[in-house]
Symmetry: C2
Subunit: 220 residues, 2 copies
DNA sequence: TAGATTGTTAATCGATTAACAATC
DNA sequence: TAGATTGTTAATCGATTAACAATC
């Protein structure tokens, strides 16, 4: 049997992009597709796409390309989107509540089944059919439900404490939207949402563009 | 004068992480800090940190390290966080509305000044002091306000159309939360939020971990 | 068959890591 | 002074890109 080789992070970032494109192609009734076509439409390199999707294990037909259905299935299976994972969410503020109603997560195989907050004013009733409970109930309930994914949408100051409670609850992967570094053991996987990185990219690139234009106009 | 060398993307992703850490250190009253200390706390490599912050132009003192205030200032200046950029947001659904109340964006120098939606039911009044207007008013208003950043939190099907309107409005950088590839000219910078990539990472890594454990327990 | 496309192997590129001199 | 830390230059690593044989 082959050893479990981790999929490179850049590949993991690109695969969902292909998937979205492929679903769209399928909707248009396209039955098979080549990397060249995908590359043209997404403005990427066809060799890179071939290598990325090759990692998921699919084999294409020379001249024809790949069967769209098979390709979708192969990628979704590799990303584990086909089996739905339950998750808990902690911090029922604006962002947290928005996520409870964000339908796309289910497409990616992520189902938020319960949310928690420490503020008792926020804990009565359901939002988008997801119950909001007091944080006191988290550890016991999460552990009993065998949930392994936790989402933190609480303020930065509470993030570390929540992470520690999550680990007690049996959580093994944390999706952290709080702008705070989480100190966790090696066997816990943390994915930081880093909205600040996105903004940094935007602001820096914009600066680079305008600086360049300024320089150019000065030299004229 | 030096040529404008683009900051590497990985560096741009890490810089905000250092900033958050440094603000925290400052709050604790720490006046100067070394890369070794930062590296230990964030579990990163000290040489990498030194190189990253070196790109922002700061010079440290051997033996002492960097002055925390200066370091914060140097990074924030490089990321352009110190001058506030105005942005528009299109799509006042759950996610969009949550962003209007998300205070952190302002810390990163991003200020959403007005939101638009095509649904007339959503457009009366303000949310978190941000006016929500009908999309018909976008092009003219955005152009006159000289706003260069646009955020798309609309459904995927509307994303391309919105992007094109944004370009007409003078928008030069788009932060796209819709799961759809945007087809735009080369001079427009698109940053895709890719929540799906984050989820892919989490689900894939979780699978890799459990597969490994399974393999290990089988071999016993 | 000819040509488009796949999959693989090799070359290039860029980022990370290591080594080391400079300096406070 | 000695030692910790910076900044730079070189070596390594991994991902991207190029080249090419295999094949439908």
């Amino acid at each position: 049997m082959s050893t479990i080789k981790p999929t490179p992070a850049p590949t993991l970032r690109r695969l969902p992009k292909y998937l979205e494109y492929l679903h769209e192609a399928k909707r248009k009734g396209i039955a098979s597709i080549s990397c060249t076509t995908i590359a043209n439409d997404l403005k990427l390199d066809s060799v890179q796409i071939r290598k990325d999707i090759g990692i998921t294990g699919i084999v294409g037909k020379p001249k024809t390309g790949y069967n769209v259905d098979e390709l979708i299935h192969s990628i979704e299976k590799h990303l584990n989107w086909d089996d739905m994972s339950s998750a808990i969410l902690v911090g029922a503020g604006n962002l947290g509540k928005a996520f409870l109603g964000y339908e796309n997560f289910k497409k990616y195989g992520l189902n938020i089944v319960v949310a928690f907050d420490k503020d008792r004013n926020k804990i009565d009733g359901n939002i988008f059919n997801v119950p909001i409970l007091h944080i006191d109930k988290m550890v016991d309930l999460t552990y009993r439900m065998k949930i392994h994914i936790g989402i933190i949408t609480a303020p930065a100051d509470e993030a570390q404490e929540i992470a520690e409670l999550m680990i007690l609850s049996g959580i093994r992967a944390i999706w952290n939207f709080a702008p705070r570094h989480l100190d966790v053991p090696d066997n816990i996987y943390v994915e930081n949402a880093e909205l600040s990185s996105d903004i940094s990219h935007i602001k820096r690139r914009l600066k680079e563009i305008t600086d360049k234009e300024k320089k150019y106009s000065e030299s004229n």
